[in-house]
């Protein structure tokens, strides 16, 4: 079945360092979404990418969608303690008419040492 894989599983950085998490799908995606879940909180939608090669920025966060629409990345410049949390990517489930459903990666847990 469809798989969405994220690496790394964990990342610990010093405040001010950069951070990148990578998302890879076993199938081509029509779009990809990113969510952030703070410790003890619930996932919050960050962004959706639709176009091949698309790059979007939100302040210190840069999101990319691969040319083949099978991979994506989230890069955070100069991390802050407020960036702590788990970052999930998710893509529409392919096949069987299940495109209403998102397949989530297992997430990357980011911790930041102040």
């Amino acid at each position: 079945g469809q798989q969405v894989m994220q690496i790394p599983q964990y990342q610990h950085v010093q405040e001010g360092e950069d951070f990148t998490t990578y998302c890879n799908s076993s199938t081509t995606l029509s779009n990809i979404q990113w969510y952030k879940q703070r410790p003890g909180g619930h996932p919050v939608f960050l962004i959706q990418l639709v176009k091949s090669g698309e790059v979007k920025k939100q302040k210190r966060l840069t999101f990319q969608f691969g040319e083949a629409k099978k991979n994506s990345s989230l890069h955070i410049t100069a991390t802050q303690t407020t960036d702590v949390g788990t970052y999930f990517c998710a893509g529409p489930t392919v096949g069987g008419g299940s495109n209403y459903k998102l397949t989530f990666g297992k997430g990357t847990l980011l911790t930041v040492n102040p």
Binding site: N31, V44, Q48, F88, Y100
Partner: protein, 118 residues
Amino acid sequence: GAGVSQSPSNKVTEKGKDVELRCDPISGHTALYWYRQSLGQGLEFLIYFQGNSAPDKSGLPSDRFSAERTGGSVSTLTIQRTQQEDSAVYLCASSLSLRLADSPYEQYFGPGTRLTVT
């Protein structure tokens, strides 16, 4: 505006008891999803509603789990004869319906219900 709400926020129950978890989605969102998240783990899909219908129940772990949705709004997830392995955070999310084929809208999650089975 109001987001997705869930109740109770925490539930401790004894093994073998039944529990009901409630979800109030964002008004106007016809799609509703239930997920389960164990400590430090990802999101496990349980069930999807479109309006009051549940076309996809494929993620329900066993027949002890059931869910319904009434009036195209509130949803209840029921777990019968709870087991210790049911302990997890149960998250509800809602969204608008599909905008285009293969293009789901973003999902808005509730705060979750933390279920502990002793």
